[in-house]
């Protein structure tokens, strides 16, 4: 052992080589090999034909960092029972990256497509969450909407016209969703873990 002690106290290359070898071997055993095995074993669920709007919506979901506060990971625990069945490896087989998440400042969204099926509710909630849930701390995404005069939008009668009172919108104005808002809603509607 004296020899080893002297080796590490005299030779920086010994620290680097042994350190890298031990760390590399442990990394292989605990991370690389399980990751390879799991990806090989997990068969993707037969999914419906890929939807361009859903894919664009998912990209926006990533860009806006929604996954920092919303998990998509239901644990096999009674605490998570309200979110539906527990998540399985196959649920994530196609996901790049999978969005299990580590925090629930907002609720889990694995099943939000079933829980919240209304497109208009989702649009209003994205425009300003406080309009639907007064105590919500979620950011609004007004940049995915266009604010126009009520008259120009046909007196607020169209399917996609967001008519909100003050303080959410100035009097006489309505919000029209841009394509991004509709894409995000399409993605949220696609989240169904049945």
């Amino acid at each position: 052992m004296i020899g080893l002690n002297a080796l590490f106290h005299r030779r920086p290359e010994a620290i680097v080589v042994i350190g890298a070898a031990v760390f590399g071997a442990l990394s292989f055993l605990i991370a690389l090999r399980p990751a390879l095995d799991l990806n090989a074993a997990a068969a993707a669920r037969p999914s419906s034909e890929p939807d361009a709007a859903v894919a664009r919506g998912r990209a926006l979901y990533l860009a806006e960092g929604c996954g920092y506060c919303h998990s998509q990971f239901v644990r096999p625990l009674f605490i998570d029972a309200a979110y539906g069945r527990a998540s399985e490896a196959a649920d994530y087989a196609d996901a790049a990256p999978p969005l299990l998440g580590t925090e629930r400042a907002g609720p889990d969204l694995s099943n939000v497509g079933i829980r919240q099926p209304s497109v208009m509710w989702n649009l209003l909630h994205l425009f300003n969450p406080r309009s639907m849930v007064p105590e919500s701390v979620m950011p609004g995404f007004p940049w995915y909407f266009e604010i126009v005069d009520r008259q120009r939008a046909g007196d607020g009668a169209g399917d996609d016209v967001l008519a909100l009172p003050e303080p959410f919108l100035p009097a006489g104005k309505v919000a029209l969703p841009r394509r991004e808002a509709l894409d995000l809603v399409a993605y949220l509607q696609s989240l169904r873990q049945e």
Binding site: I15, A35, G65, S87, P97, V137
Partner: protein, 473 residues
């Protein structure tokens, strides 16, 4: 080692010149100043994010949206403040322990440019929503991460060659930790960015590994190494137990890589992977107690002196936080606790307790304790005290608020109440957290001011080196 032997060694070994001192002071100061800049940036983003959870419609701009500024906050404080600051002080420790000029001063400056370039590019791209997704601490696009990795590789190589050419006979334990950190970072960074694991459940295994191992095999050993050098210097006495440092080095290497999966307990990952992570988390108490106990026992007997040295206060809090935060993390991983506390703010509190109370406090202490010795400019202790109390008060508010909010959230969910109840229960604690973050940010302004006063003083550095050492060269 008695002071007599230190003096003999100093006389026997040709010392570095005043010119080397000036060059190294320039490098160390450039790194710490950059680190302080990123600390201010990261604190501003962090405080804004905390305020947005209190006033969600504050500053409703795309590039300041919560989901975009959160990764900017973590990248700025972890990769900016901590990585850059720790690297700068590591250069100083290596310079002192090798008793030799750095292999290349130009490479040290080049390394800093690359790190800063990556950090600036990361800030801009994340503001624009260009990200690899909410995969913590590896959100940067691959080319930006590659620039950061190149900077770290250059620094690691520079440090390695300097230690190869050292004038001292033995390699001090601080250098073990520093060499290890610069060896492990490139390995885990490459694994974190391997395109083979971009999709599927395998990505989760890599994410768990990466997000935890970057803390345990980069920040932890680097800051421990620096403290193994800084604390004895500041107290003018040897470390309590050199052997405990050796034990901590090997135990950290064997245990830490294995515990990442505790971030995804109950996920569809193999049960053995989760159980290994949870069980080895208890094994982690060996290196944690070895190092934190070592630091606190080194301080023991010097409390009267420490009362007058606020720089050491930071190290005392850092060592105690290392112990407490590690214990908290290991217990939080137990399945019974994890079922209730996972997904809650308790985790956020733990992360700040570790990254701030432990790593940042030790770095603050090392900067105050070591930088004046090479720049030749001392700061007034009164402002170090001010920084200390702001940082400690802010951290205490922050961690307590998040732990309480986390328990309330977990209990609300376990009761099966509507989700919004957990948001309402957290609301007052979000306000306390924002106040704590504000105090920490104020402390960082004082720190930046202090650092400016410690800038290199060319005239005094000449007076500083004793003529005897110059002659011995």
């Amino acid at each position: 080692m008695s002071s007599a032997t230190i003096n003999t060694e100093l006389a026997a070994v040709p010392a570095t010149s005043a010119e080397d001192d000036r060059a190294t002071a320039g490098i160390v100061y450039a790194y710490t100043a950059s680190a302080a800049f990123w600390l201010l940036v990261g604190s501003a983003y962090g405080t804004l994010a905390a305020c947005k959870l209190v006033w969600p419609d504050l500053l409703p701009f795309e590039w300041l949206s919560f989901g975009r500024i959160r990764p900017i906050h973590t990248a700025s404080v972890l990769l900016g403040w901590l990585s850059v600051g720790l690297t700068g002080i590591a250069y100083l420790v290596v310079y002192r322990t090798a008793r030799r000029a750095l292999f290349s001063n130009a490479l040290a400056h080049a390394g800093l440019w690359l790190l800063n370039l990556a950090l600036a590019a990361g800030l801009v791209t994340l503001s624009l929503g260009m990200t690899r997704g909410p995969v913590e601490y590896r959100e940067w696009l691959t080319p930006i991460a590659a620039v950061f990795a190149a900077g770290s590789l250059i620094n690691g190589a520079n440090i390695f060659v300097t230690l190869l050419r050292r004038r001292t006979e033995e390699l001090y334990i601080a250098d073990w930790f520093i060499l290890g950190s610069f060896t492990w970072l490139p390995i885990l960074y490459v694994i974190g960015y391997l395109p083979a694991f971009d999709r599927g459940i395998g990505n989760v295994v890599i994410q768990a590994y990466y997000m935890h191992v970057v803390l345990g095999m980069w920040f932890t050993p680097l800051v421990l190494g620096i403290t193994y050098w800084a604390l004895p210097r500041m107290l003018h006495k040897p470390i309590y137990s050199y052997a405990l440092g050796v034990l901590a080095f090997w135990a950290n290497l064997v245990f830490y890589p294995l515990i990442g999966a505790h971030h995804f307990v109950f996920a569809p990952l193999p049960w053995w992977l989760q159980t290994t992570a949870i069980a080895i988390g208890i094994g982690m108490m060996i290196p944690v107690v070895a190092s934190s106990g070592n630091f606190l026992l080194t301080m023991n007997g010097s409390w009267r002196m420490i009362r007058r040295e606020p720089a050491v206060w930071f190290i005392a809090v850092g060592a105690a936080s290392y112990l407490a935060a590690s214990l908290q993390g290991s217990l939080q991983a137990f399945r019974s606790a994890n079922a209730l506390l996972h997904f809650t703010n308790h985790t956020v509190g733990h992360a700040h307790f570790a990254a701030y109370g432990f790593v940042s406090f030790l770095l603050f202490g090392a900067v105050y304790g070591l930088v004046p010795r090479i720049t030749g400019a001392q700061d007034a202790p009164v402002r170090i005290r001010l920084h200390f109390w702001l940082a400690l008060g802010g951290m205490a508010l922050y961690v307590v608020a998040m732990v309480v909010a986390g328990v309330l959230q977990g209990m609300s969910w376990a009761d099966g109440r509507p989700f919004i109840d957990s948001v309402i229960a957290s609301a007052p604690w979000y306000a306390v957290r924002a106040a704590g973050g504000g105090l920490m940010t104020l402390g960082h302004v004082v720190f930046a001011w202090n650092l400016w006063l410690m800038r290199p003083q060319p005239r005094r550095a000449e007076v500083w080196v004793s003529p005897g050492l110059e002659a011995a060269r």
